[in-house]
C-alpha cells in the first residue's frame, strides 16, 4: 500500500489462479475505490511462476511503480518484475535470473530507490533508468539492506547486515 500526492491511496496484490497470476491495483480517492485494469506482463508460464509483490511506490498523482518477485521452480530469489502504471497504461521491466526484488522507497525528487535487486547494494530509478548504487564500506556481494525515507524529504536512512567486511553491520544515510 502506498499514498500519492492528491490524497490517493494505492493497493496492489496478486491472486494466484489456476490459469495464471492475476495482478490487481486499486486506488482509493478518499471516498471510493477505483479498480485499475490489470497488467498482463509476459511471465515464464512453462515454469509455473508465482508472482510475489514486494513493494509499491507512488512517484506522482497517477504514477505508481510495483516491484514483484517472479518465483519459478523453487529458485531463489527469482526474477524482478517492475511494473509502472502512468495513469493510462501499464509498462514493465523484467530483471535477469535471480535478480530478486525488495523495497521501493521514494527519493523525494520524483524517483525512487530499490533494495535487494540484482546483487547490488541499492539501485536508483530516475525516469525509466535504473542505476546501481555502491554503498561506502559495503562488501562485494551486496548488502541485505532495509531503508526508510524521512517523509517529505530527500533524506533516506538504511541499515544493513554486512558480514564481508571488518566494519560489521552499518547504518547509512543519503540526502
Amino acid at each position: 500500500m502506498t499514498a500519492s500526492a492528491g490524497g490517493s491511496v494505492w493497493v496492489f496484490g496478486t491472486n494466484p489462479l489456476p490459469q495464471g497470476n492475476e495482478l490487481r491495483l486499486a486506488r482509493w480517492d478518499g471516498r471510493r475505490w477505483h479498480k485499475i485494469p490489470s497488467p498482463e506482463p509476459p511471465l515464464p508460464e512453462w515454469e509455473d511462476p508465482r508472482v510475489i509483490v514486494t513493494d509499491l511506490v507512488a512517484t506522482g498523482p497517477s504514477d505508481v511503480w510495483v516491484a514483484a518477485n517472479i518465483e519459478v521452480a523453487d529458485e531463489e530469489p527469482g526474477y524482478l518484475l517492475l511494473l509502472h502504471w502512468n495513469g493510462a497504461a501499464w509498462s514493465w521491466q523484467r530483471g535477469s535470473k535471480e535478480s530478486g526484488s525488495g523495497q521501493l522507497v521514494p527519493d523525494g525528487r520524483g524517483g525512487f530507490w530499490l533494495t535487494r535487486v540484482e546483487k547490488d547494494d541499492l539501485q536508483h530509478m530516475a525516469g525509466r533508468r535504473r542505476t546501481p548504487v555502491r554503498l561506502p564500506l559495503a562488501g562485494d556481494h551486496g548488502v541485505n539492506l532495509v531503508i526508510s525515507q524521512v517523509p517529505g524529504s530527500t533524506r533516506v536512512w538504511g541499515v544493513g547486515v554486512e558480514s564481508e567486511t571488518e566494519y560489521g553491520n552499518l547504518i547509512w544515510s543519503s540526502g
Binding site: 531503508i147 525515507q149 536512512w157 541499515v159 560489521g168 547504518i171 544515510s173 543519503s174
Partner: protein
C-alpha cells in the same frame, strides 16, 4: 574501530556501525527521529567520528532492541528503547 568517513558519488555515507547484533528494520520520521531495530541483545551503535555521542548499552534476553536517533543536528545521539518500554509503541 574508527570508521573511515566516506561518501559515495550519489550522496550515501556511513553514519555508524552496529557493534554486534543484526539490524532488521529502520523507520525514519518527519521530525528527524530514526528508529533502528535489531534482533540481537548487544546491538548498539558505535561512536564514529563527528557523529556525536552514542550510548552503548548491552542487554540480554530482550529482543528486538530498538535504537532511536534524535533528529536535531545538535542532539545526535542514540538511545536504547527495549521492547517493553512504552515508547517502543511509537515505532
Amino acid at each position: 574501530m574508527p570508521l573511515p568517513r566516506r561518501t559515495a558519488r550519489d550522496g550515501w555515507r556511513v553514519v555508524t556501525a552496529l557493534a554486534g547484533g543484526l539490524p532488521t528494520d529502520v523507520v525514519a520520521l518527519k521530525d528527524g527521529t530514526v528508529w533502528v531495530a535489531g534482533d540481537h541483545p548487544v546491538t548498539r551503535p558505535t561512536t564514529p567520528r563527528r557523529e556525536g555521542r552514542c550510548v552503548a548499552v548491552t542487554r540480554d534476553g530482550s529482543i528486538p532492541v530498538v535504537w532511536r536517533k534524535k533528529g536535531s543536528e545538535n542532539d545526535r545521539h542514540w538511545t536504547l528503547r527495549d521492547r517493553d518500554a512504552p515508547s517502543n509503541s511509537r515505532k
